[in-house]
């Protein structure tokens, strides 16, 4: 998550829970009844059309990318990218899968980071969110502010970079990327707000039964938090999967296998990276299907997200909506 998102963090969750009752002073002025049905119909038709068109506008670039990856390089060089595959061929994908070491290595790095990072991060965030939501925790305001303050004022890129790269000596280490993505203030606050949906009586009943604070959290609260865990876990997984920025700062070209999106970043931006990715350096850059290869690499690097998307997006939508409304 970008830092500016954190600013709206609590807002998004809390501002939305606006009681509709407040607007009751704005009851509609009495007007002569215009033909109600026609107005409704026009509005509906307009809504279907606009929303439909905007959805197409959102989808189109993906279709064009896929089409481009399935086109022949010669045809693309002649007539440019378009909406449909031109002179259909799998040549670009063959190039990638002829020498798949790079892309497989990147996949392994990204998948391992995403799975372990999401698991560990989610656990720590849930634990913190739980503690910060406990009304009987005397330091909740202090700890909350300690975490929140990092979104208000930061050292900035240069001092942070020097600290992590030189003092912590994490330059060239996957840890520089892995650790820094574990949590954000925004996700902790979101989790804390989700935790409010767990009735406090649960905690009290646990206490009466003699359970410790950690056991109340792990055995009573966590099972009730599945929607929150799904939503926040997905946010975490997404930030690991899409990571390229920290890699560009701390990994550069020091590691053999770059995280997937950073690998793609290099393919797009440097001709040599594209050449090295498909074969030995003896292939001339002019012989490479550079345009279609870039598109095919993008599809390969994004594929799992696009395939999983239909199944996970409802957790995002419902999660955000639940967090927003009940916040």
């Amino acid at each position: 998550m970008h830092s500016s998102d954190a600013k709206t963090a609590r807002t998004m969750v809390e501002a939305v829970s606006v009681e509709a009752g407040k607007s009751s002073n704005a009851t509609p002025r009495r007007r002569r009844a215009i033909k109600l049905d026609t107005g409704d119909l026009v509005l509906q038709a307009f809504s279907y059309l606009t929303v439909g068109l905007f959805a197409v506008f959102c989808l189109l670039p993906f279709v064009m990318m896929l089409s481009a990856s399935l086109s022949s390089e010669a045809e693309i060089r002649r007539s440019g990218f378009g909406l449909f595959p031109k002179d259909f061929t799998l040549a670009a994908y063959q190039y990638i899968f002829n020498a798949p070491q790079q892309i497989i290595g990147s996949y392994v790095v990204t998948v391992v980071m995403t799975v372990t990072g999401t698991a560990i991060g989610l656990f720590v965030i849930a634990m913190t969110g739980y503690a910060l939501n406990r009304k009987d925790f005397p330091f909740r305001d202090h700890v909350s502010f300690f975490i929140y303050f990092t979104t208000l004022f930061s050292a900035g890129l240069a001092p942070t970079f020097l600290w992590v790269a030189r003092v912590l000596d994490l330059r060239g280490s996957y840890l520089a990327v892995f650790l820094q993505l574990l949590m954000t203030p925004w996700l902790i606050i979101l989790m804390k707000n989700f935790m409010r949906t767990v009735p406090y009586e649960i905690v009290e009943s646990g206490k009466v039964d003699g359970a410790g604070d950690f056991r109340i959290f792990a055995q009573l609260c966590l099972p009730m938090m599945k929607p929150a865990l799904a939503t926040i876990g997905l946010f975490l997984a997404l930030s690991y999967w899409n990571e390229w920025y920290l890699s560009s700062l701390y990994l550069g070209s020091t590691v053999e296998f770059k995280p997937l999106q950073y690998h793609l970043y290099n393919l797009i931006n440097t001709a040599n990276a594209l050449r090295n990715s498909v074969a030995g350096s003896n292939v001339s850059i002019t012989d490479l299907p550079t345009n279609t290869l870039k598109m095919a690499s993008a599809i390969v690097a994004t594929g799992p997200i696009l395939l999983l998307y239909p199944f996970v997006q409802r957790y995002f939508v419902s999660g955000i909506a639940i967090g927003a409304v009940k916040g």
Partner: protein, 313 residues
Amino acid sequence: MAHEDSPRRRKSLLRKVVDSRILLLMCAPAIVFFVVFNYAPLPGIWIAFTNFNYRDGIFGSPFVGFKNFEFLFKSGQLWMLTRNTILYNLAFIILGNILQIAIAIMLNEIRLKFFRKISQGVMFLPFFISAVLVGVIAFNLLNYDTGALNALIKQTGGDPIKIYSTAGLWPIIIIMVHLWQSTGYGSIVYFAAIMGIDKGLYEAAAIDGASAWQRIRHVTLPSLKPTFIILVLFSLGGIMHGNFGLFWNLVGNNAALFQTTDIIETSVYRMVLSQNNFTTSTAVGLYQSLFGFALVMIANGIVRRINKDYALF
């Protein structure tokens, strides 16, 4: 955030720590995380007042006072970066919120559930992809030789445009890409707010004979106003912070476009990574942090006056 009731407050600090040790321990990993990655680098801000070199380190390098800032102000660079960052964010906030509200209202009008679900899902999709992929998509659409836009222009008999060297086009491009990527996500919040509106209000409006437009104008929009005001105020608080990934992957090191596209984040990134310039970049970062901090405080103060519950602190 209410203070603890009086019997509790009389407890000694040590007692409190001992009593809540488990909860404190549960917070410990997060606290350590923010200490290591957010608080520990703070003393490094000192670099902004020095002529930093590796050999002497942060606190051994010669002290130069406000020289680094003076240079930034006099060269006009700081003004350009601030202007670009703020203007882009203003455009994002204004156009973004209008579009998000419009889409949310229209989604609410759509009765076919499957149509709504699918279009909502599709509009949300661009939010899921990495900034790198946004760069790939822009390349697909905009590059001179093979870009889809120029292909279309050529087909219709026009002359292709060198988009990647025409600075004037980029504000439009960047705003379009931003709206493409964030509208679906943003409209969810407004859509949730619309779902929360008391249905009785609409029934009352219908009985009063309100038209579809009047229903939106006099029920939906007023109900969304608090959400809108607070979201906008907090976005304004963050107006000094740009979306680095978007700008970098669309423009990157393309100096021909900097006049209209360079924001604080991209400039600092370039200074650190390709120029090893730690003094100027720290100075710009500190300027941004302080300015940004002041803006958040002001925004929060205003929100507090409107409704205390929505204030951040």
